[in-house]
Symmetry: D2
Subunit: 508 residues, 4 copies
């Protein structure tokens, strides 16, 4: 958890929280005192972060009118009006983005191909609630190609790419989403997906748990026909485990958040690239020779450290866990306490999943021009609130870049106000999203086709063999050729030739 | 100045050579038919590339009116009107950019500090013609602090940051430059710098040779008072060597293009970072596992290869020079001919300084989605012209990104239309510019203060000791502590304790 | 213990499985026809590999006489004769080796220090059967310092360092071991440890399971007083799990083979260094530019690949597992089938844990001078037997290096006859052994002090907290400073401030 | 020949110096007050270092008798007795070593092949004085294949591999050399090469200048027929420049020491590998997490730093030259003064070419177990003499490894007594030697075939084109495919299609 998908930022800001909580939440949604804590109640991607899904995101926005989509009458070119998007006329732009995304999502395209004969999702009626981006669109259209009917809402009020939503609507998908929904819009959209005359979902694909929650609250009877839930976020998974613990989970659920491929890609490999990207786009700084302290040496920290070291930065690491600390040592990083280096470093990066890792005291001691940013969890790692005091001046110098100025003229450079740098200030490579999307598709197929009794009313991890299958679908991208075991070798190793190849505890 | 690198390779092509000689060559300056065309004669910074000087470059542009600056009456807050910029009111924005730049230009700031007693440029009257950016502003204000009077024009019709120009004008610098000058504006601005009642330059700082050319042509008598020329671009240096060869150079000139620090920084270290930055900003691609061919293993190629290898790409190299080829081998890259890998690579990067390295035939054979870009020389390396044929469709998908589509649907992704990727699609770190600017400042000081006879009417390299001094001024940025030789050691090595420390042929 | 790695993969091959079960299996222990044969049943350390424990190993060997230690009357300087070693007079040499080892085993020395007040092993009577090296000696003397009485035999007939055994005997440890024991000697030594008048062990420290087996077979009643078994090898652990499954395990056992630190250190970090060391010592080859194929991308393969890439080799990887394959891709290695590159590579390295990965057919196709070696499992990975055919000539060119010559003159260079390169041709860093030894000591302490009922008659993994403790004891070596959680942070994360810090499934 | 600089250990020990000086040296050999200073007078490879040329070096040594070769009557199998080696019967062992070396010296083998028609050295009578190793043998036999007659002596009294010398004698080469020559033997051998009835050399291949000196002194008339000298060592080159300056050089001489390929390979690439090898073979230490300070960031230092960083060490750098210092910063190393880190580092490595870089004061402050070694110049960098004081105890723990023990028990680990680690404790890869040997062969061909007047009585560098040719001959080893310029490209670049491709000042 400490980990990844940090992405789906959760924050404790009561205003935003309010927006997606209910007056009368059931109790299980109120009791989250522990580990994950408050942050699991709501998710929100800050407005700024939405820029980053695609560099092309905003090219038609300025021409948008201000009428609420709910008040518009729109039809797609086939006369269909079962959708609600910002502007159906933007469909062509969105289609191009989808086509670009398709090129980097080979696994989903392969699934489509394989499904030309059999339709593993024939009969599936999927209701989904995710970020609506070009990559999601490729997933949705793949689900369609596999035989499913889909209805879709956004899981975040800011993250929808209007052009992509339009393209989906134009293609006949009932999509209910736009960028800048109000709290009320948000639930209205979800409801429009679920509450349909003559159509009832039998599968749920959720990201954050809001859709699941809505059905629990408003249409509990629907669960009688639902074969399963596929949930992808830390928050949503946590909610499901809570339900399960409380004995209230009434269908099987698949936790796709903890698959190996997803974890390694989203964290180690993705952060290795996005730390550089995020810092460059915001500060144009040179990495060579810079002194950097990375707080936390989990997968995210490992990725950040490897990249910065490779670019010629001198990297220090802080850790609380002696095992990760020893890894940092063996990988060639000085393990320090933050205090020991805070006066000398040029950059401070948090990747701990913890809170108040960088305190006001640290901030006070940083040298002039020090850059401070967060690659870890939510916006809790840097105590940004402590900087909102009268003697400090804030100066926004660029989008996502603030100078905080001390009375003596010292400035620190705060990126994304302490929110996730990679989500706010860089893009997430499509290829990474492809892995997640493929995992989701396979989880849907698995749950939908599983024989009665294979899955009970509990939360499951994707079988390792499917994890391996997701990986194998991505190998052709790299023109990578897998070796097959001979019968003799398989016997020698005691393995099935088709996998799974490792015990569950294997660490990769 | 941005004109970086070995790029501006001197070459024997008679057409180009002609263009940069200038015995009686009016036709040269008259034939500048298109926007890009004009400037590409000497340093090809395309319009698009100007975006990249600073991420903050454009934030006030949209509010600009369309009146030509030459037709405006503007005064700075002290009532001074000896300047011509887009809009003096933007001065405050520009000042902030300058202040940010100052933080990464420690060497110039150190020079200012040291000059508080003695003013090594007291009495110097410097006329300058360079890109006008925040970094140039720091240089100009440093020259001022060292005692010089300056007048300045832009060396490129597109690259001026209007806000910075405004800030300089507000501070009292006679600056004549704006973004989007016409050909006529260009020479008018230069002339306004030189042709002043009661002021005559005694030093020239040039980037590209246009200012020098103008004085040669229009005010040859001025050279009587001019103590020297400092020139920074390959093109301008080449022009000076031509003049020298022809016996027409009438003052000493300093070639600051070939200093070690400049070359290693501008090429190896800078490209190591900008190749990643340029590719990310344009394509959001993931580097891990991608197959890349880098054409050319000079300093630029070495930087690109090192960075991509570090990010997990599989890199192939092509070379014509067996020594560089052997280095590529020892550094762990497969040395291939382009034909051998062209069908399989995901990215093609040229860094050769050559022409037609990537031909239409290569382009025809690339796989779908292959990215093609140039980090080397001008826009000659990829035969982009060969793609302008009727059967291919061009689709601009983002700024600086074109899809070129074959009849069978294959697309290649062409970046910056084959112009320099790092200049067009990423920013140049201030720190790198700092090294160049410091070298320029020291060259001015050296020429201005050199005793009669030290320099003749010839082109000189900066003395190695000064090169070492530039480097030493940048060490404090890294909190780097140099060791001093003991007397005994200096004697043993036969070196002066203060350097120079290496023979001229040392390769670093 | 040296028996490193995942290597000792548990497998379903019934032949092998049988051999390490031991219900009524006298024939197993009787069939040990050849020197190597005998021991290779459990842990295959070949004779040659024993050279490598320490570069200093052999300096006194040549002066040894040929009398069997069993026939000698030896006393240490205090008149004690309860031991049997090669030559007690070598004690001083051994002591120096032990002292050198102590310097790189800081964790054990720290344990000694902490135990000055409390003696956590007071009353413990430990019988041990491990390799007898300087590192083991540090462990034994640490156990002594912690309050234990120890008696010790060797787990391998070749691996004993006679000088070290002498030093231990001189210090009063009843040690029964020498280099070059016969089969009969082997069991005699074990028996002398166990079968003592007036002393009965209450703890077992085993490496391979032979000691445990002997007690099961000969003195089953001893288990009444035995509090637990600590076992470190894959083979021994497998035997224990078999006993447990069969309901025959009558005391708790601790599997110290699968701790994180041990696995990561023994495999990833250790192999990263020893692949280079082993290749250099045997072939003096240059790594730069060489083409290498590494079969298998588990921890061992990852270490080999990282090191060779860093030294400028071009590395290809083969894999059967798509997840590891995808990791190889993302880390920048071409994933191939062995056949695709076998003709072009300069080095072939196996790290799969599998058998016949390199077949005669592959060997036939390798190019002249190709180097073939194994870093993986036992000696099964390369089909060395297939090279024992009349048309091929074997030429031993150096110790551990054979040229196998084809009729057409082609040679391949086979290292260590396909046995483990790092064990045969390089040394294992003391620091790595320190981690294992510390884990063993802590496991003994844990089992010995555990309250009644904490552990049942089953096989346990060391609690994660102890794993973390082992790591923390090694941090001072690196002058590494761990950060402590604040109360507030611990609460936020739902963690105890002293760990454990990660869930059991965490992958590191 | 073994190449470079640092290696050819010079020492001021008067005993050894005496051994290769003359009573009545001419004055030019006495005046060497400057840069290179005293160290150029003599060279000696310490006995220990000779072990390292080949791991196989010593396998027949123990059986050698003690009779001086000069007193033996030996004939080869063809009845020829014009040689003097230790034992002609060892020829077969030597031949095998030569054959192994041939495999890694592809360029020389290629030269042999190309010379099958024309014999570019037909008529050449070459007298040589170099280390006599398998690699030299490949060079000599190549010269023979190119048409030359050769006579050879050793340039060092310890470095001869007796078996190789025997193999050469068996093949008919008049070789006069053995391991362990006396001073008198040394000059006797040289004289036997030169002073022959009916044979007079017309080319000299020298390594260190002793042969050249001998001819100058004893047979000055020989120079009338000598076409040129090829000299490879720093020392010998320095002597030649002295002669040239003094107007006493009477034939052209070729300095093959400063070619690009030689410098980059011998230093950067070779040291990158040998620093690891040397440390492992002597100390078996683990690199991961170790703190290392590398003194000097020239090519050797760059190689050491890159390798250690890649293995997970934390590396600090000291420098006196600000340009190299800035490179160290950009490459990611903290630049410090030695004093700042001397208390904390685990390893100190000198690569400066300077003297007393590590002083007694530094040694006093090092922590326990710190390893100290030299990769730079001679044995001057570490002030080893300062450790020869009564209060310190020296303990030789392994070959080339001393513990120096302070009164308080602190030990430092001194490798090779401060002489060159790579020469003393690791082997030099044949491939590196191949580059030097090829350069020597080409220099001989060039001088021998140059038309009258091309070379005067001066010291020359090998033409860049030949440097490039040497490189090109080594590319096939890596299956590397060079790209050829098209006519159009060559014209554009103003280059000849066959090179040279770079200006002389190019830095690579």
């Amino acid at each position: 958890m400490l980990s990844n998908k940090k992405k789906y930022i959760v924050n404790g800001n009561s205003g935003i929280k309010a927006q997606i909580q209910f007056a009368d939440q059931k109790q299980e949604f109120n009791k989250r005192p522990t580990k994950i804590g408050r942050r699991s109640l709501s998710r929100s991607i800050s407005q700024s972060s939405t820029d980053s899904y695609s560099s092309a995101a905003s090219y038609t926005d300025s021409s948008d009118d201000e009428t609420s989509p709910r008040d518009k009458q729109q039809k797609n070119s086939k006369g269909n009006s079962d959708f609600c998007v910002k502007n159906i006329k933007q469909a062509e732009f969105g289609r191009r983005e989808i086509e670009i995304a398709e090129q980097e999502m080979p696994a989903l395209m392969a699934l489509r191909k394989r499904a030309q004969g059999e339709k593993p999702l024939a009969g599936a009626k999927i209701v989904g609630c995710t970020h609506i981006t070009a990559q999601t669109a490729v997933l949705m259209e793949t689900l369609g190609a596999l035989g499913a009917q889909c209805r879709w809402a956004a899981c975040n009020i800011y993250s929808t790419l209007n052009e992509v939503a339009a393209a989906l609507a134009e293609s006949g998908f009932p999509v209910f989403a736009w960028k800048g929904e109000s709290e009320d819009d948000f639930w209205w959209c979800i409801d429009r997906c679920v509450n349909v005359e003559g159509w009832q979902p039998n599968m749920i694909l959720d990201d954050g748990g809001d859709l699941t929650h809505w059905i629990y609250k408003k249409y509990p009877n629907m669960f009688k026909k639902i074969k399963g839930i596929v949930e992808e976020s830390v928050t949503g998974v946590h909610r499901l485990y809570q339900l399960s613990k409380a004995g209230k989970l009434c269908v099987p659920a698949m936790n796709v958040n903890d698959s190996v491929t997803k974890q390694k890609f989203d964290n180690l490999y993705c952060c290795r690239e996005s730390i550089l990207d995020g810092l460059k786009r915001t500060t144009d700084m040179m990495f060579g020779g810079k002194q950097v302290v990375v707080c936390g040496y989990g997968e995210v920290g490992k990725g950040c450290c490897a990249a910065l070291k490779a670019m010629g930065s001198i990297v220090y690491v802080t850790e609380i866990d002696p095992i990760c600390a020893l890894q940092a040592c063996m990988d060639g990083f000085r393990l320090v306490k933050l205090n020991e280096v805070i006066r000398q470093v040029d950059i401070v990066i948090t990747c701990t999943g913890n809170k108040n890792v960088v305190t006001r005291e640290h901030l006070d001691r940083m040298k002039n021009s020090c850059i401070v940013c967060n690659m870890g969890h939510s916006n809790t790692e840097i105590d940004v609130a402590s900087l909102r005091t009268p003697e400090l001046t804030w100066e926004r110098v660029r989008s996502q870049v603030d100078h905080v100025i001390w009375p003596d003229g010292k400035r620190i450079v705060l990126l994304a106000e302490g929110r996730l740098l990679n989500l706010s200030c860089s893009t997430v490579p499509t290829f990474v999203l492809s892995i997640t999307a493929t995992t989701q598709a396979l989880a849907l197929i698995e749950l939908y086709n599983a024989p009665e009794g294979r899955y009970k009313q509990d939360v499951y991890l994707l079988p390792k063999k499917m994890d391996e299958y997701v990986a194998s679908l991505h190998l052709p991208t790299f023109d990578a050729h897998l070796t097959e075991l001979t019968d003799e070798q398989a016997k020698y190793l005691g393995l099935n030739k088709n996998g799974p190849f490792k015990p569950n505890y294997y660490r990769y």
